[in-house]
Amino acid sequence: MWNNNVNNLTIVEKNETERRILVERSFCDEKSKRVISGFLLIKIIDNICKEKDLIKFRRALERVVKERCGGNYMEVEPILIAKDFEEKVMEFVTNYNKLQRRKPIQLIKNIK
């Protein structure tokens, strides 16, 4: 039996300048061996997220998928946190999430 109760999150990459982290999600199997169950790529933008921020974020996602997941986009959950999102960004992400069979890009508004 898998032990689903143990779900660990570990920061495996941190880019202070870009305010971006890569979190590895793992759980323990029946022999208490750690098994990776995916990643979360999270970026925080203090202001409004513009298209250039989205492009940078997509490039980072591309690199992580290549380097850590053998090209499988289903392994990484991309999360963008910003004060607000430009119309162009919203439109692209809506279409991206609809058209690409990948983990959807989650847009989270950081309302203080």
Binding site: R58, K66, G71, L99
Partner: protein, 346 residues
């Protein structure tokens, strides 16, 4: 130069090999009587042959009933595909009219002189090892279109088949030399059999395969110099999903461009785009591409494109992340016997 793997029955192999003529059937026996295939199936047969050029490599898959099926070669095309109904083989009803002529490859004549072969299981091992990646199986399965002629990759796959033919030569060959008495035959060139463009998807694909074989200028202008091209390439073995047409282009061995083409008879909508995007992602995971150096391109080919498809493709290309998308429009002309291809400006 291209390479092909053609299936043939054990009964017809000897005549085929001696006369240097291969024929693909035009119909089947249904409810006790012979019936021609539907136009779509006929176009699929034409499509599979349309890209064949003089000098292309040919291997044969001989289907046997009471012993393991075998792969034979290496031959080359001496007369490009044509249509001819003259009787050549023993079948009382089927004339196998979609034909081409071939001869032993002069470089590998000693293999064909003794009809060297490998068992089909050895080819499946190459598929398992991903040394052959364009095929999933040679069997006719319920959920796969029945095909007798398959275009394979020339630079790696054909070489690998030649290698195993050499490997097993001492054990898998006839003890005597075989005859080769080439037949001379002409017919209607296969290009003339491509009609109904705009009506059948396979007709559009057949024309594109033909133009690729011809290194047609209008196609090179859109896609660049194509090194190799294949149709119905398996992208996911278990779900039996296949790419309509795949081009390989690019400067050298270490830097290739793989273009995945999805063909639609009519308008390309978001569903078609979603499909090509998914195939791009799947292809990158198959271990054929060098993820650091090679480039993937997705191409939608259709009569028209929805505004949403154009808009998303444009925005995605502007991001310059994860390959690019191209949209190619075809406009049938000459009563559906021809078409013009134009890139859509995105």
């Amino acid at each position: 130069m291209g390479a092909f793997l053609c299936s043939i029955s054990e009964r017809d192999w000897e005549i085929t090999r001696i006369k240097g003529i291969y024929g693909n059937k035009a119909g089947t026996i249904r409810e006790g009587s012979y019936k021609l295939f539907s136009p779509s199936t006929q176009y699929s047969i034409i499509r599979d042959l349309a890209g064949m050029k003089k000098g292309d490599l040919i291997f044969f898959h001989v289907i046997r009933k009471n012993s393991p099926s075998t792969i034979h070669g290496v031959y080359i095309v001496r007369e490009e595909p044509f249509y001819n109904e003259d009787k050549v083989w023993k079948d009382s009803k089927e004339r196998f009219p979609y034909r081409f002529l071939f001869e032993p490859h002069p470089k590998f004549e000693h293999l064909t002189k003794y009809d060297a072969y490998v068992e089909v299981i050895d080819l499946y091992e190459l598929i398992e090892q991903r040394k052959i990646w364009t095929l999933a199986t040679l069997e006719n399965e319920v959920n796969i279109e029945a095909r007798s002629v398959r275009k394979i990759e020339e630079s790696r796959e054909a070489k690998e088949i030649i290698r195993i033919l050499y490997r097993d030569f001492n054990h898998n060959k006839l003890s005597h030399r075989v005859l080769f008495k080439p037949i001379i035959q002409k017919g209607v060139p296969i290009r003339k059999k491509i009609k109904d463009i705009g009506r059948y998807e396979n007709a559009v694909k057949a024309l594109l395969m033909y133009l690729l074989g011809e290194k047609d200028r209008s196609i090179i202008k859109i896609f660049g110099d194509v090194i190799d091209f294949m149709n119905e390439v398996f992208i996911a073995q278990t779900t039996r999903k296949s790419i309509d047409i795949l081009f390989i282009s690019g400067g050298n061995e270490n830097n290739k461009i793989y273009t995945i083409v999805e063909v639609k008879t009519g308008k390309c909508d978001e569903r078609s785009l979603s499909q090509v995007l998914y195939y791009m992602d799947l292809f990158k995971r198959r271990g054929i591409m060098n993820l650091e150096k090679d480039i993937i391109v997705g191409c939608l080919l259709g009569k028209d494109f929805s505004t949403r498809v154009i808009k998303y493709s444009r925005q995605r290309n502007l991001h310059r992340v994860n390959g690019r998308l191209i949209l190619v429009q075809y406009i049938p002309n000459n009563d559906g016997n021809d078409a013009k291809f134009h890139p859509v400006i995105i």
